[in-house]
Amino acid sequence: MKVTVDLSGGLELLFDKKKVHQIEFSDKNEIPLRELILYMRDNLLKERAELFVVDNTVRPGILVLINDADWELFGGIEYNVEDKDTITFISTLHGG
């Protein structure tokens, strides 16, 4: 399965400054979102992990989208990511 991960609001800085990542899991048809997040932390993260993950989920202030809609509409971290899904992580901005 292939998953697209989108990063915005400065989160891309933690992931090698790349806004879009393609991740392939050749041995799986679906993967729990929590596992995807921990996979990203352990394999893709280039900077301090605590800026992305706290207590085995994304830290407060990050909005997660599944195919362009809030993950809360799909069960949040319990969602099972499927082939061709796009998961977006947006850090909320505060400046003005």
């Binding site: 806004k19 706290v54 407060p60 202030g61 809030d70 400046g95």
Partner: protein, 414 residues
């Protein structure tokens, strides 16, 4: 005579002429313009977002605009805060923006609040307005404005921006979500980047502020269906991409707008968010041992005495490029823990020691405000393998801003 021609509405000839182009726009019309001319909007923040928001709402003809800002105009504001002038440097931002507005549309009543928006002042100010615009620049104020809007039942048009990006949405509108529904817990303090640290472009806040003004106009003119509630608009200026994504609705368990709220009056948001009602950095607290600190005055003496030492500037390289102290080495905090950097620092230290074997070598760490240089102390303490009999590591308190303030004002302030 005009009374003969104008019927069934309260717009006079001057207003018809001034607002003609928006008056003839579909879904505004006479009814919409009358609503605009009777509306009262509070804008919190007279900076990058507040300027375009207030200017567009004033030119659109709102009746009363309230502008809250405790700060005064600085030269470094003018690249993006388009409601202020060079001649307003030092003037309260609320007053400066009000003056610009009055010179464009004298029909608008502008109330200025030259004060920090706090739990003590918020409800009293908000009660005089129908809609609130969040054009602030910090987390604590954002939670405060949200709760004040929920408690006083006012819609909130929220915008934010940083670097090349911006976000816009409308909270607490027609049973839609509030800020806390989406973000129940404030972000950890060290994950928040301020415009004064990360930078921001004028056109980015211009776009986001303009979108906030438009959402406000839609709410006032009762164009309900298109209002950006339950959706978040994200603008990535670098990629030239606008995206509007669906976000959760009002949450029944939300602590302020839910069915059984636990927040029923304003709280202390500086405590809740562990940060101030301001993006101003202020003085940085000491987080390292006393013997790891020297002042800018003491460092100035080190230079004057020609003492053998190593100066490491840990700012990002794009800031180092702007200005730096003589003979400083740039090793950014983002990479200082990498083995490559550690090797480089050890080589620099060894070269200095070899050139003057008798005395102990002092390594000084420097950054903009004396914050990251303290983090660097901890990292180097852990990673440097060189014997501490020969090397003493200290950070320069207050950093380059302190150098500008106390030693040499010709060092560029940014």
């Amino acid at each position: 005579m005009s009374a003969v021609y104008i019927k069934d509405h309260s717009l006079n000839s001057n207003e018809i002429e001034r607002y003609s182009r928006q008056l003839i726009t579909p879904d505004i019309g006479v009814q919409g313009q009358m609503k605009l001319c009777a509306s009262r909007v509070l804008v919190v923040g007279a900076g990058g977002l507040g300027c375009p928001v207030a200017l567009y709402l004033a030119t659109a003809g709102v009746s009363v605009l309230g502008i809250v800002d405790y700060d005064t105009v600085e030269i470094s504001n003018l690249h993006r805060q388009i409601g202020h002038q060079e001649s307003s440097t030092g003037v309260p931002k609320a007053v400066s923006l009000a003056n610009t507005i009055k010179s464009i549309n004298s029909l608008v009543t502008v109330n200025t609040y030259e004060t920090t928006f706090t739990s003590e002042t918020a409800m009293d100010i908000i009660k005089n307005y129908d809609i609130v615009v969040d054009a602030s620049d910090n987390v604590a104020t954002r939670y405060l404005i949200n709760d004040a809007c929920v408690l006083s039942k006012k819609p909130l048009v929220s915008g934010s921006a940083l670097k090349w990006e911006g976000q816009v949405t409308v909270y607490n509108y027609e049973n839609g979500p509030c800020y806390r529904c989406i973000f129940p817990t404030p972000p950890p303090v060290d994950t928040v980047t301020k415009c004064s640290d990360g930078g921001v472009l004028g056109p980015i806040v211009g776009v986001i502020g303009s979108l906030q003004a438009l959402e406000t106009i839609k709410i006032i003119t009762n164009n309900k269906e298109g209002v950006l509630s339950g959706r978040l608009l994200i603008y990535d200026g670098m990629s030239a991409v606008f995206r509007t994504v669906r976000i959760r609705g009002r949450q029944p368990h939300c602590s302020v707008c839910g069915d059984n709220p636990t927040v029923t009056q304003l709280i202390d948001y500086t405590e809740f968010c562990r940060s101030n009602y301001s993006e101003a950095a202020g003085k940085v607290d000491d987080r390292v041992e006393h013997h790891n600190i020297i002042t800018v005055q003491q460092y100035n003496e080190v230079i004057k005495s020609n003492k053998n030492h190593l100066l490491i500037d840990v700012r990002p390289s794009n800031q180092f490029e702007i200005c730096s102290l003589p003979n400083s080495e740039n090793i950014p905090i983002e990479v200082i823990d990498k083995q490559e950097s550690i090797d480089k620092i050890e080589k620099l230290i060894n070269d200095k020691i070899n050139s003057n074997e008798d005395s102990e070598l002092s390594v000084y760490l420097l950054c903009r405000r004396g914050n990251k240089s303290q983090d660097a102390i901890k990292i180097l303490d852990e990673k440097l393998k060189i014997s501490r009999d020969k090397v003493k590591i200290q950070h320069i308190k207050d950093g380059l801003l302190g150098w500008n303030e106390s030693i040499d004002s010709s060092f560029p302030y940014y």
